[in-house]
Amino acid sequence: MAQGWGDGLPLIPPTPDRVQDFLIAGGRFPDELIAPLPPLRAECTVEKIAINAVMAGCTGDAMPLLCAAIEAMADPMFDLAGLNATTGSVVPALIVNGPIRNRLDIPYQAGCLGGVAGPAVAIGRAIRLIMRNVAGQVIGATSQSVYGTPGRVAGIVFAEWEERSPWAPLAERRGVLGDAVTAYGAMGTANICDVVANEADGFLDMIAKSMAYPGANGFLPSSAFSEALCVINPIWAEVIGRAYPDITDVQAYLWDKCALSIDSFRPEYRDPIGNLGRIKPDGRVHLVPKPEDMLVMVGGGEGGLHAAMLHSWGTCLTVTRPVVAA
């Protein structure tokens, strides 16, 4: 802790024996470079991941997921340099698909976005320690986050309830079959509640309109593009899936309704938004430029009633990578 390696919580000492066990579990050479990580742009090797994973309280079988997650976050599309320095409250959320969900006990049912006791907490914390210790993301020194977010302590690590989804898994729709991790720059999580709707369009209207708030990064007059993610509970998903068995129709519906009239913005916002070409002929501005930028997945408890929305940050683009077993 005195070295500045910690997050305020107790740490497991990364002894050579413990780290060695993780390296064996990961099945990769310790000096293998995963990626240079900004802002420090220092090299993140498999060994550095293992050391931080030990400190966080992970188990060794999480190593392939951790390596894949770091690879995804280091993709230039993800803009980790900007994300780790921003005044925004963004944290990379990790979404897990494939059989590894169950092997690692990554939550996708009730409480999946936080609160479930299990390995996901330590996995998320390991990613956060890697950002601190390897990437050099330190509040006040490199990160300028005005508020931060609780997700910056133990991350946001959850999975998709694939068995209850009417649609193909998120990662598969993004081109990766089987075990996969998707890194998404999340401006926290927020809840959408609806106790009235009982058919697909009602649920989707509520989700879309809730996501279209003017302070979202996607509406910034400087944002040419962005993404958005909604997590639909399995009860709603079943209803929506019957009406819209093709996920692209769901995305198109949400995209269309998730918009604000340009007239709802104060006058000084209108020209900058217009200069980006974001005002449609009908006078609306959509949160995300295209339907495919509206990411949709299934997760959460069977209590229904709620969906979760995770707005994206800046021009950070979602990246999916396969998780390769040792």
Binding site: Q3, P38, R41, A85, T87
Partner: protein, 185 residues
């Protein structure tokens, strides 16, 4: 005694030299990097460009937009092409976390080509800019600091600030001109 392994990483090298002075402005091609975020930087750089042109320089603006995806690939290519035909670079504005990150990244890219380079940030983000430059391997990167907050000020006031800062900016950039030398005296 328990041995523990180091979880941190660091860069092995650091360039502390600020790089070449801007020198004379006459006949030089100067790239000014602006962005989508800060109207105040548009206003400041407009004023500075007028001064630079009056000294005989040829000023070209380049606006940084989306830096990821295909748009980002094209932006990087355009920026590299601009630097290739420029004699010096002025890169701004560091006025938030991510934009300071991109400002310093673009300044480091320019400095790496060997041309005189200066980054511009506002006072609140000065520490971040220095940190990022150091962590980017070039702690000597020239940096000019404008007041903060800047972007909420009216245009006329920002223009006044731009004019007040022009001579110190020239000096920090290592410009050799009558104006810079007079003000240094």
């Amino acid at each position: 005694m328990t041995i523990i392994l180091d979880p941190s990483a660091s860069l092995a090298h650091d360039i502390t030299d600020p790089g070449p002075d801007a020198g004379s402005l006459a006949g030089k091609k100067i790239a000014i990097r602006i962005d989508m975020l800060w109207r105040s930087w548009d206003w400041v750089s407009d004023i500075w460009a007028q001064g630079l042109r009056a000294e005989g320089a040829d000023v070209a603006f380049w606006r940084s937009c989306g830096r990821t995806g295909q748009e980002g690939v094209e932006a990087d290519r355009d920026y590299a092409a601009l630097l290739a035909k420029s004699d010096m670079a002025i890169v701004g504005l560091g006025n938030c976390g991510s934009c300071t990150s991109w400002t310093i990244a673009d300044a480091l890219t320019a400095a790496a080509t060997g041309i005189p380079t200066i980054a511009v940030a506002t006072a609140h983000f000065e520490g971040l800019a220095h940190n990022l430059a150091k962590r980017g391997g070039r702690s000597g990167l020239r940096l000019h600091i404008l007041p903060y907050p800047l972007d909420i000020l009216p245009k006329e006031q920002v223009h006044d600030i731009a004019r007040d800062h022009y001579r110190p900016f020239l000096r920090g950039f290592g410009v050799r001109s009558r104006l810079a030398e007079q003000s240094a005296a």
